[in-house]
Every structure is written in C-alpha cells, then in structure tokens.
Symmetry: C2
Subunit: 124 residues, 2 copies
Amino acid sequence: MADQLSRVFAALADPTRRDMVARLTEADHTVNDLAAPYDVSLQAVSKHLKVLEDAGLVTRTREAQRRPVHLEAEVFDLMTKWIERYRRQAEERYSRLDAVLARMQDDDDRTATTPTQQQEGTAS
Amino acid sequence: MADQLSRVFAALADPTRRDMVARLTEADHTVNDLAAPYDVSLQAVSKHLKVLEDAGLVTRTREAQRRPVHLEAEVFDLMTKWIERYRRQAEERYSRLDAVLARMQDDDDRTATTPTQQQEGTAS
DNA sequence: ACCTTCTTCAACTAATTGGTTGAATGAAGG
DNA sequence: CCTTCATTCAACCAATTAGTTGAAGAAGGT
C-alpha cells in the first residue's frame, strides 16, 4: 500500500527481520531453516518473510516442497541513495556553517587583537 | 523501548517524516514552519517530531517561544554502517557465485568442445 | 495583569502490527 | 492412495501507531 522506500524502512525496523536479512547475505535459506534460531512459531516467521518480500528485499522460488528465500541486494541501493543524498546535503550545510563560524571567529580575532589585518578571501 | 537502529528505521518508514528530514537538511525549522505543507494538525506534526527525536535524528533547542528543530546527521551513519556491511557481504557472495558459474561454464565449454584443455587455477 | 503565539499534554479512536492456534495446501515418498 | 514434510491461510488477540479534538504551559508584547 505504501511506497517501496517506506516498506523497506518498515521491514528493517524489526530486529528479527534484520537478523534474517543478515543471515541471508551468507546463503539462501528455507523458511524452517530461518525460523530455527527464533523463539516464535513458524507462522510468525512466514509473516516476517512476507513483509520482507513485499518490500522487495527477498524473493522466494520453489524447490520441491521447500521455498528457498533469496536476498535481493539491489533494494539496499534505494535506501543508500536516499540516505546519502540527504546526508551529503546535511554535511554540506555544516561545512557552510563551519565556514561562517570560522569567519565570525576571524572577525572577532581581528577586531579584538589586530584590527589592521586583512581579510583572507571569501566563502566558497 | 527498542534499540536505536530499529527506532531510526521505523522513524524513516513514514513519508511525512522523511520529508521533514529532507527539509531539515537545508535549514533548521520551527514546528509551525515544518507543519505548514502537510494537511494534518499541528499536534500530529509534534508527534512525528517526537518520533524523530526519540530515534536521535533531530534535537530541539529553545529560542523564545519557538522550538527550532535541528537535524543530527550522525545517526545516518548508524544506518549506513548496517546497510553497507550486509550489502558488501551480499555482493561478495554474488561475486563468488559468479565465479562458480563461470567455472561451470568453462567446464561445459571444455567438455563440449576442447576436452584436453587444462584447468585454470582454483577458486579463492 | 492580559492577550497572543508557539508548542505540548491528555484522552479518545481507527487501523496496523506481531504474535498466537488450527486448518488447508502442495509436493514427494512409500 | 495415504502419509509426511514444508509452508501458508484464516481467525483471533494485545499492543502500538497515526490521527483527531480540547485544554494547558511557557515566553513575549502591550
């Protein structure tokens, strides 16, 4: 129902699901396999997998009675893109702020100690 | 109640909250300011901000009656670390798989066309 | 003191979530 | 066919979430 990015973030907001993803980076696993370490019913694990599947984080193929779960790493890029975009912007902003603060400090120094000193270039 | 990583992912699973974060990368904003574009009550926005604050994504200082909201970019690193760790692992696995598939293809080629050809080293 | 602005607290509601148990499906293997 | 293994569907429950409205708090302006 929600956009994919929301579904991906929501899916990874659960520690059990994050652990499943972590284990799936090493190898594909069946549902039974995946369920083993957790103290919940098989059905609960099946539900977790549905959440991961709806988010596009995993796919399930068929192999006899088993249903191997496979991690789709490409979806990670969706998150990484979003995160990196805004992190970069935020960092740039801090850089600008740092520059401003540095100039203010310069000004303070100048007026306080060496009023005749010259300005050292402009902000980028 | 949950670990921080879970809270961060959960916080960003909402499009409105993601949009707020996006806007906060450009500049700090007051609650009123932030609420303007959305068609929900001011209280709802205040709640969203509490979620972001509990996740460590924003901090709020005081400035007269206003309460400027400030983005804390460091928390992004927490997510990035988690994502990158497993993405790298997953990619490595695909590389190994690719190598195996390539060798299998080599074997096929060899047995099908040049059965006397020699093997080219072992898998790492 | 009083009023206005900005923000949060409290109580309520509807929808979603993560879990349960019991029954149903699908594919092998006697 | 009948059984067994692996998995899912269905119905239910408790807890959480995202929203609402109404009242309260905190800081200035007059």
